[in-house]
Amino acid sequence: MIESFTVSNFGCVRNASAKLTPLHAFIGPNDSGKSTVLRALQWAAGWRSRGLPPQADGASKIEVALARDGLSVRFRTTRSQLNGTDRTILSSKPLGEFESQMERLGFGAPLGIVELVRFDADRLREPSLLLSRTKLSTFVSSRGAGLPAVLMDIRGRPDDLGARIEQRFRARFPYVKGLSLPPTDDNRVALELVTIDGKTLSTSQLSEGLLYYLAFEALRHVEDVKLLLVEEPENGLHPARIAEVVKVLREISDSGTQVVMATHSPLVINELGADEVTLVTRPSVEEGTRLTPMRATRNFEQRSKVYALGELWLAYADGDTEAQLVSNGSNEDAAQ
């Protein structure tokens, strides 16, 4: 698990640090840097395979601390220009020692598969190519393309996982009798639903909420993901379903995959603990992105006794600087 990280000069982040939990959310206004923080984590965690970060110039530096069962390792990746060429440099330890420590921590080197998803209903609806049996089952794109193939792969496993997923799915959507994954003319696999009255619904007839729910259910079974980054898991979901999706994400995190998300939904936040939320703001272009643990926001001790966590955010958020949350008025200032 990534316990903490520091990001320097990466996109709109000048210098920011945060501690993470197994399930963690970044909240904050638009354009504050939430997605950039996720991309920084994606880049750092997949430092070998993902190449350079999307940065026009200057050096990017990301420090990450990983810890598990009392073992810990820190590493720093730096992107800089050398002889006019971009280089990504791992600068913490000799590479061999670093890789062996990562192996002992169970992360391998690099960290293992890092997934960043921002589901898009149109992509989830697309028929997909069948997965090779030698490949790990995963979505083809961060938008969710490949869902039918992932479901097909899960259904083909020796255990009854596919049946259990369908059972949970039917419990949430009682009009559904089952999932169907028919082949298409161009050798792809499509997703269809069969209703209890025998009708077959194509993906174009399925609601966004249903597709998102199914995708998150499938996500928990995508293999070997050590770090799952999720953008706006609430998209397209009915408020009552949001809690269920967060529950699925928590189950994923309980099973050993760290889940870090960016969200605009107080309903998502309501399902989390104070230590699981970090507020992202960008006071000015010069200062860049600032990360504030929810527990360190203004008068948190008092406010959290009155408001649920998501309600607290909404009650004091202004969608801009979030001054009522992060202004200098400390608990001591407000005390009498």
Binding site: Q302, K305, Y316, D318
Partner: protein, 198 residues
């Protein structure tokens, strides 16, 4: 002493229920009762909030309400939010009254929340309670009406200005007829005594 007052509307808050530009100094029940109980105490009403708007208006902001589906429990939350608002704006006390509206659960929830607020925000005194069944019952009590708290809709039995009646009332008489007013005045006198001791 700096105070926040909260009530359902103009009867409780007078012109303080209106935006500042529309205020002409008309008093509400809370201002009148506080003036009588806190006579001799230096105090100032610094902030006022209409009960139903509290969830939507943290200090200095106007945003969309999120209080949905809480029912009577929301009344207790509102009391706590009042105390938090006083705490954050550095006020010393909150004074409020809420109609019971035949909701006995509301009375219990509000009383519990007053105790909870006192424990959470020890520097903020909370003077409040429910009027049984509505604020007009207190004016009926001031007119020495025995059944003032038995009317489901006391407003139907009262003519005149609640504020004017309570301004001139013999509060001892009114307290005998209305237990809810007696309780409210008791809490206000506790605030007066605590302030006088300083």
């Amino acid at each position: 002493m700096k105070l926040l007052v909260a009530g359902e509307g103009p009867t409780e808050l007078g012109d303080r229920a209106q935006p500042p530009q529309y205020r002409k100094g008309r008093e509400g029940v809370l201002e009148v009762l506080l003036a009588r109980v806190l006579e001799g105490v230096e105090y100032e009403i610094c902030d006022a909030v209409v009960w139903s708007r509290l969830a939507k208006e943290p200090p200095g902001r106007r945003i969309v309400s999120y209080r949905v589906g809480m029912g009577t429990r929301g009344e207790g939350k509102t009391v706590l939010k009042l105390a938090l608002r006083a705490f954050e704006t550095k006020l010393d006390a909150v004074a409020f009254v809420r109609d019971r509206d035949r909701d006995e659960e509301r009375q219990k929830v509000v009383d519990d929340a007053i105790r909870e607020a006192a424990a959470m925000f020890e520097h903020v005194k909370v003077v409040g309670g429910v009027a049984v069944e509505a604020i007009e019952a207190w004016a009926l009590a001031a007119r020495d009406e025995r059944d003032c708290e038995r009317h489901a809709r006391p407003k139907d039995h009262f003519e005149g200005s609640v504020v004017d009646v309570l301004r001139e009332a013999d509060l001892d008489v009114a307290s005998r007829r209305s237990p809810s007013l007696r309780e409210w005045l008791g809490r206000a006198r506790t605030l007066r005594d605590a302030t006088s001791e300083k």
